[in-house]
Structure formats: C-alpha cells, structure tokens
C-alpha cells in the first residue's frame, strides 16, 4: 500500500486524526483560528455516517457532545480562547459526570478577543483551572503535524481510559501552518474503545461505583440500564448527595484517577539532553524554534538540549526534576508570561537557575529571540 501522505494545515491534520480515532459526533461554532476543524468535520463526518452539528455558541457545542457521548459516541468540539472561556461551565460538568470528550483549543492571543490570527500560548493555566472547583484535567499539545496526529488519537484514548474531558491545547502557528505528514495505516495506532458494563439487564447497575482499578464501565443512554447523571456531587447511582463521606470520596476519585496516573499519561520528547548543561523546555509551536536553535548550536559544540512537553496537564513535575537536576541553566520557551515557567520552578530543587524566553506580542518566537535571551542569561550580552 502506498503511504497516505498529506500536506495540509494542522487543523486539518487534527480533524483527520480524530476521524482515525473513531470520532463519530462533532459539534462546534465558528471561531478563528480553529474554524478549519469545524469545516472539515462538516464535510467529512456525514461521508462516514457520523454527525456534525453547528450549534448556536460554544457552550452549546460542548453540551451537545456530552449528550452524544452518553449514547456511546466518540465526540469532539473545537474552539479558541473566547469560545473556550464560554465552555468552562460545561467542561466542569464533563469532569464531574466523567464523560469522555475531546476539546480542541487552538490558542489565539488573549485576553478577550485579543489577537485572533496571531501566535500565543496564553491558555495553559486556563486549560487546567478555567472551570471552578478543585479537579484534575488532561491537556496535550504538539509542535508538528505528525505528532499532532498521534497526540489527537491519544487524546481520544485517554478520554475513554480515564472517563474525562481531554483538552488539545494547540496554537495558531501549528493550527494554520501547512506541513507534510503521513496518515498511519488503520490499526497502526491502537485505539481505546468505550468500556461498557457487563452488568446484565435487570441487575442493579451502579454507574458511579469505580472498579478496583478506578475505572467506571459505562452504559449507553438508550440501553438497558437507566440511571441519573448530574453535575451535583452524587452517590454510586448518580443521585445527588451532600453526605460528607460520599462527597470526599468522589472528589478524591476525580483528582486521583488522573494525578495517580501521571506516569501512564505523560508524554514528552527529548533532544540532546544526555550531556546538556543548558536545557530548554518548550511545547507546541515554540518547541519548533527551540529545537532549531538547539540543533544549530549543537553543530557549534554548545551543550544545549531540549525537553519538549506533549503532556501539559497533569504536569510532569517528577520528570522535570530528574532531567534538570544537573543542568546549569533551564530556560522555558513559551509564548506567554511564564505559565509553564511557574510549574518548572515548582518542580526543580534550585528554581533560581530557571529562566524565561518568551514573546507576548503576537509574533512567533524565533530561534534568534531565544538565542538572544540565552546570551543574556549566560552573561554574554546580545
């Protein structure tokens, strides 16, 4: 078989990956710079018997896919900052009710309408803490289309495994950039399907009673088990409760199912880290410039390395601590005021060796930008 090579925007790569992952229901609302995902779904989903909905706004889009997921579908929505802000209440609902779904946020510059067509990574913290209440979330990102394809499939797999919404935190550069990539043969990337209950009809099914491994087998709406789903704290039947023991247990379950599995969830890439004395930490499109610089300086003998994060949340504190232990300088490269920088400082023993190389003006951060900041850090002057 010939290789299925594509040369398209990252948004389209993401949409193709979702279909590869088994997506059969998408709802969305037009917003730059994510609209191409929605357009692609409108075109492609009915061709495979899937369903596409253009809703009246972004929160309605997320609500609609949550409803569809409950009937057993693999679901996704895509948006950008303002739409992601509007979705936050429904995101909390999906967390509380443990509904698998994938939410793509192709970041633009913010706050507010900000810079719709420009580069930014300003929604890192929002992805974790945008919705109210204590909780845990999974957020992934990618710097190139091949990785984006794989990480999108991974987002669907994690959503099913942990019964949780997964955020795909892309950015305008990756979303709009055209680049070649190969669509893997069907089956090459393993897919995780819906874990359904084996409880027979007529036997009491407890939709919110976790198994020993923490997973909760589901029963499709419209199937043989009728149960309640609510955003209130609930008992094993899904019925509202304020019993402190039940509330405590559910709260811990929602957080522990993700934070106790960081080692299984976490994905990253390492470039020249073995002997690096200066380590760049980056993610998304920023990591492209960081990698370019690292390879450029390596050819001149500088001991520069790159850790590219693909899992943003849950944050891999243990990994960062280990990798950066012997580094002289750690430089976080990102297009915000240091949202990952803060986590890196928390992760490592000597936070004074951690620096920020950033841009917040809507311009894409270049290798030269990073190089100039490196020279300042190393006391060489620009």
């Amino acid at each position: 078989m010939e290789k299925n090579i594509k040369f398209v925007q990252g948004n389209e790569a993401c949409a193709e990956a979702a279909i590869y992952a088994g997506l059969d229901f998408f709802a969305g609302y037009p917003i730059t710079p994510s609209t191409e995902i929605t357009e692609h779904m409108a075109l492609k989903l009915p061709q495979i018997g899937g369903k596409f909905l253009q809703m009246e706004d972004e929160i309605a889009s997320l609500c609609a896919i949550i409803g569809a997921s409950l009937t057993g579908k693999k679901v996704m929505t895509a948006t950008s900052g303002p739409g992601f802000s509007l979705m936050q209440e429904a995101l909390g609902y999906a967390i509380m009710t443990e509904i698998p779904c994938v939410i793509v946020n192709v970041q633009r510059g913010g706050p507010s309408t900000g810079l719709p067509t420009h580069a930014s990574q300003g929604d890192v913290n929002q992805a974790s803490w945008g919705t109210h209440g204590d909780h845990a979330i999974i957020a992934l990102t990618a710097s190139n289309h091949q990785d984006l394809f794989e990480i999108t499939v991974e987002a669907f797999n994690l959503a099913e495994t942990y019964r949780t919404p997964v955020i795909l935190l892309l950015d305008e550069v990756v979303g709009h950039m055209r680049e070649g990539f190969v669509i893997p043969k069907p089956g090459k990337i393993p897919l995780v399907g819906r874990l359904r209950t084996s409880v027979k009809q007529g036997v009491d099914y407890h939709p919110y009673l976790p198994r020993e491994d923490g997973r909760l087998p589901m029963s499709d709406f419209g199937g043989v088990h009728r149960y309640n789903v609510t955003g209130l704290f609930h008992d094993m039947w899904g019925f509202p409760t304020d019993d402190p023991k039940s509330v405590h247990e559910l709260h811990r379950h929602l957080i522990d199912k993700i934070l106790n599995n960081v080692h299984l969830i976490e994905k990253h890439k390492e470039y020249y880290l073995d002997d690096a004395t200066t380590i760049l930490i980056s993610y998304g499109s920023s990591a492209r410039s960081a990698r370019h610089l690292v390879e450029n300086r390596r050819s001149r003998g500088e001991l520069l390395g790159l850790l590219e994060l693909q899992t943003i949340w849950p944050f891999p504190y243990g990994l960062i601590r280990k990798i950066c232990a012997d580094a002289r300088y750690v430089v976080v490269v990102e297009m915000n005021m240091g949202q990952i920088l803060r986590e890196v400082k928390i992760a490592i023993d000597d936070p004074e060796k951690v620096f920020l190389a950033n841009r917040i003006d809507g311009s894409y951060i270049t290798p030269t930008d990073i190089r100039n900041i490196l020279r300042l850090i190393q006391g060489k002057g620009v």
Binding site: D24, F25, A27, L43, P46, Q47, G49, K51, L53, M55, E56, D57, I59, A60, S61, C63, A64, I65, I66, G67, A68, S69, L70, T71, G72, K73, V75, E89, A90, Y93, F221, G222, G223, V224, R226, Y227, N228, V229, T230, G231, L232, W237, F239, P240
Partner: protein, 267 residues
Amino acid sequence: MAVRDYLRERFFPHMWCPGCGHGTVLNNLLRAIENLKIEKNDIVMVSGIGCSARISGYVDFHTLHTIHGRALAFATGVKMSRPDLNLIVPMGDGDALAIGGNHFIHAARRNIDITAIIMNNRIYGMTGGQFSPLTGYGKLATTAPYSNIDHDFDAVSLATAAGASFVARTTTYHVKQMADIFQKAILHKGFSVVEVLTQCPTYFGRKNRAGSAAEMVENYKKSTTPIGSKASQENSDLIERGIFIEKDLPEYCGEYDKIIQKAMKGK
C-alpha cells in the same frame, strides 16, 4: 404499567415545597407516557437547574440533570446521535427563557424532535424568589423589592416566532388538558413546546399576595380560557390555553439523514 412504576421511589420524598405545582406536572407527564405505552428505556429526560430540573431525578428513565439553561443543548446532542429515543426536556421559566433563551430559540428553529416543557411559576424558586423573564411588570420579587420594571415574554409567541412546530399552553388546574397536551406533544414529530402555568406558593405567591396554593390553582381557572373562546374575545386580559400551533415541518434529524445520504453518494 402504573404511574408509580415510572418513579424512582428510592429517591423519594421529593424536595418540592408543599403546594408546589411541579408534582402535578410530573403526575400528568407520567400519565401521558403511560397512555402512550412508551418503554422506559426509550425515554431520555434532560433537565437544567432549578426546582423544575429536579424532576429528572425522580423518574425511571435515562435522566440527565445538567447545567443552568443548557438542557436543550445536551438534549440536541442525545437526540442527534440517537434519533429513535424520545427526548423530554422539562425546564423552569428562568432556566428556559433567561439563561437558556438562546438555546430555546435555536432548538425551535431547527425543529429537532424534542418535547420542551416550560414549568412557568414566574419566579426563581431554588434561589429564593428572584424575578424571572416571566414574572411580569409590577410584580414583586426579592430582586424587585419595589416593583418589577422588567416586561415578560409571552412564551407561546416566542416559541411560535422561533419556529416550533407544536406550541401549547395549559395550567395545573386543567390536569386532563395537561395530560392530553403532553401526549400530543410527545407524539409530535418536531420541536414541541408546552408552557404549563404552575404555582409557586412559597415565593411568587407569598411575595405577591396570591393566596394559598389552592387559591393559586383555582385562579388559573379564572385567569385562563380556551383559545379563541368568546370570553377571550371579550376580555383580552384572559390567558389563552390549548394548542396554538401543530404543523408538519421537516424534522432536523431526518434532514440530517438526507445530508448523510448525499455525502455518501458524492464521496
């Protein structure tokens, strides 16, 4: 099947106040479903937030108690992915027409086959008696302590203008009519809206000196009249009840099936 077979008695007693009209709505809804002999597994009830929304917890269907105002958006997702299921969405007046107003008009515009019930008690009960978009000018509420200057929506006119293909109004006094309308609304293929005037003696009633629960129910007899009745022509203050709109229009899920056929052919 008896009405009580549709209830989750494990979760009773319910949390509604004595004299609340919502129980009457629940009763008649279950009678309608019983008459239609719909299998419990074929019904999904989706609700939002508020006193009305708690109705979904008490019924033995697939039940989705969601977030404030967005029940119809969730229901749209369920219906689109499983068009064979019956979707019933009970909402409060604030839930449906304030925070949920946008979803309401767009669900109506799509004519998606969902039965939307607006349990209109003219107040936010769960939060303790604030005015809603249906409270009405000159009424009192905890957030209108001097007098409400917000004008109300006419839910029937709004639903009609938005494109709902079945629109009706009834009250907790007219229980036979309520069950009958629910039956027709559920059978109707398209977006159906039933506004039920239901009493809140605890907040709306007390604030506005509307009397006891029984007096409030009795008042629905006096303040309403059948559509196009002689009384209605003589007294425009009377609220009309009955079925205002019942028409055959292309239903959304059926329309999308045609899109799938078109897309598969062109592939």
